[in-house]
Symmetry: C3
Subunit: 354 residues, 3 copies
Amino acid sequence: MFVRNCWYVIAWDHEVPADGLFTRTVLNEAILLYRTHDERIVALRDRCCHRLAPLSKGRKENDCVRCGYHGLLFDAEGRCIEIPGADTVPPKARVQTYPISVKNKWVFVWMGEPGKADPALLPDNFSCDDPEWEYIPGYLHYDTPQPLVCDNLLDFSHLSYVHEKTLGGSTAIAQARPIIETLPRGVRLTRRIHNVPAPPYYRALRDFDGNVDRWFIYDFVLPGTLLMHSGGRPIADAPDDMRRAVRLHSCQTVTPETDRSTHYFFQQSRRTADGDRSTTEALFRSLLTAFEEDRAMITAQSAAIDADPDAPMLPLALDAAVVRFRRLVEQLASAERGETPEKAAKAVPATAAS
Amino acid sequence: MFVRNCWYVIAWDHEVPADGLFTRTVLNEAILLYRTHDERIVALRDRCCHRLAPLSKGRKENDCVRCGYHGLLFDAEGRCIEIPGADTVPPKARVQTYPISVKNKWVFVWMGEPGKADPALLPDNFSCDDPEWEYIPGYLHYDTPQPLVCDNLLDFSHLSYVHEKTLGGSTAIAQARPIIETLPRGVRLTRRIHNVPAPPYYRALRDFDGNVDRWFIYDFVLPGTLLMHSGGRPIADAPDDMRRAVRLHSCQTVTPETDRSTHYFFQQSRRTADGDRSTTEALFRSLLTAFEEDRAMITAQSAAIDADPDAPMLPLALDAAVVRFRRLVEQLASAERGETPEKAAKAVPATAAS
Amino acid sequence: MFVRNCWYVIAWDHEVPADGLFTRTVLNEAILLYRTHDERIVALRDRCCHRLAPLSKGRKENDCVRCGYHGLLFDAEGRCIEIPGADTVPPKARVQTYPISVKNKWVFVWMGEPGKADPALLPDNFSCDDPEWEYIPGYLHYDTPQPLVCDNLLDFSHLSYVHEKTLGGSTAIAQARPIIETLPRGVRLTRRIHNVPAPPYYRALRDFDGNVDRWFIYDFVLPGTLLMHSGGRPIADAPDDMRRAVRLHSCQTVTPETDRSTHYFFQQSRRTADGDRSTTEALFRSLLTAFEEDRAMITAQSAAIDADPDAPMLPLALDAAVVRFRRLVEQLASAERGETPEKAAKAVPATAAS
């Protein structure tokens, strides 16, 4: 159950070629992307209306795409404008189009009612295109449902265990409870950890002789996007003294490919002033190692759920943000389907007192 | 939904060994083939009646086959004639047999009521065994349902797009509408294309300096067999002057392995007088390249259908033969099941006017 | 349908490490094994009660295990004793435990009601730990349902065909009907074969110039355990003269991993006095060859059943032990579920007269 009236990231901008066809599946729908002569990105359902062959197996002709099976030609509005051997084209001969927005290197597709596609709902992924920040764009594919990946990003207590030797470095992260605030389309989490060793992950940027104070401040918004400031600072320094701090900004988003698989687009940016390209590369390698730790754990969790789909989970206090976000998704998705909020609310397990 | 009262090609004659066991699945039924002392081919259900072990894991003993699990011995009529350790054999101990015909190197199995197995229903695959024609026997396996492969063979407009660089070479093939005639168990298609470049495929046989007239004249008959005369001739030559023509005959047939997979037996013959063995080999290599193009497209189409099984197709004028053949199959299959023709007709989408 | 109130072998004793975690699935339940400081083996459901991550992805801490996802700590009784960041632990926070017994190198898990776990129900697998007997421990994984493997072990007529060149060597085994006796939780089979060639399998132990008398005497008991004395002796020797005999004892057991896959633990012991380590190794290699023959046949049989799940089997006289054991399993499994014996009995096909 997913919210359709959302912008979903379907690609990094550089993945869509200047000339040629690109295909990716979102919410179980294969979507064809290509650029017109003025570089605008077009999104069409990747399926010929005739006999359902993928249009991505055809070819681009100017601003149109021709099916590679029987040669039907579709324009950028999805209209069939030529059927080889036929004098006329039936009005029904068309494929679905999707609204597209490109913002800060992310290509977003709107999966809901086209009339509701509102650019104001795009997330503030500023560090993806800002001279003050530098990063390497990342992509991972998950063979697990998207909500399990969202859960992971909504609860950083896992850093102490899954990422003990990479992003974590201390059980104090799990000990520290975050402040959780409600946003119109998500939650804001603020977690501050005092007087802990710097995590191994920081080494690419800076060596600390003593302990640090760390912070993670992020919004997690629909449909599954994390926008985070994080960092660490020697405990001796004043809170507003950033001269010896590590300061990072991260944009991450998880897009359901199918009900059972997920696209993960991510970056972790460092301040351009702090280091050079090799610093960025070292940070990226560390991040990938950590994200593979997540993937291994979530894949194992998903397999355990599949083996016994009725097994109940036991919600704990540490799941507060997870539960709040899942409830939001359920309520909006149910509303889209015309269901009552009561029924939707029931689908979300309550948090156990602890 | 398949017609059972049909001869299905199960193997090329050379695939069934002189001594030993051969197994292949047709219409979801594993079938064991072997030859008796007089070279007659026997077809038994490849499944012991006792505990369902495949008989093909056993061994041939004279004209019988012995199950490799517990040693039951079956004769060429499928009767169990020995159970090790038992003095008598229950009359129920037998496996199903199938009528077999061998015609022009194709081994056919009759999948319907044995009493209805009529050799008059065998197709005229003459060029598979004719000194005037030479070919290399071909086989491909498809991981897609058989009707999608039939559709492909019933509409050659795809030659212009799928086979642009192999069998096609011109969009004129798609532009030319074929004449379609109804046969008792299929359709006859005649397509003539005037004044077009020779396709790359012809190069193995002959180089043309100028354009050619081409023709494709074929029957497509139950259960999925194409029998085709095709060729090309310099436009300057008289219609009955074949001295500089390329003349080919092709026999192709698609047999459902399961509901979701298909056997494809094929050959494209050249006149024995036109070339030598190396010509035949070059033609075969080109044909394989083209047939891999089909397989890639049909496999992609099949995956798109599986991802959304309720997606409707949009029938067009170019599908006239496809629709006619599908309707024939549905009507015969329904009749075999005792359903009314009305119900069967409804299952076939009508052609849209265009 | 399996009997739950049974001891199932989950591992060879040496497979469970002195320190660290071991996981294996039994009856569709992933089970975590580890040793406490006093070497006792603990069995916990391998699934955190919080969000279902496998505990085997975490780590052992003294006699406890810590989940690798969010750090919950469980003791050897399955109680959660720590939730990072929480002051208290809800009483519901616990994972299931299983009774464990270790007997003669086999680790048994009790899958039924813990209060009914009775050591008296453990099988007499004495040769797994007896200085008079020597063997190499074996394990195979089957991608087939467990009952098909039990069937195989309940009917040695297959030795003449599946194992013609290994364990069998003569069709006389299939000809000889065993004596079948009913045991409280299984059946006892006694099969004696007179005056036959020694099987190839014996060569590692002894060469015989002439024929031998052979015997196979075994119990096959719940949930799927074979305990067998077998051997062969020159026909000239007196029945009680074992000086030139081959004498073997074998313990084998099949444990359902899931409804569709099976663990197979086995050993075939020789008398320690008869040979040395290289003899044991030669015997083991021969046994593995034979057991791969079984696996190939049963896997093929299982595929044939899957292709047509409603196909009936034809029970024969040689299936008497198979039918008797299957009926026992059905009756006990039905009784556990509170079904009437009549209903359970119906589920088992009767033996055909022959």
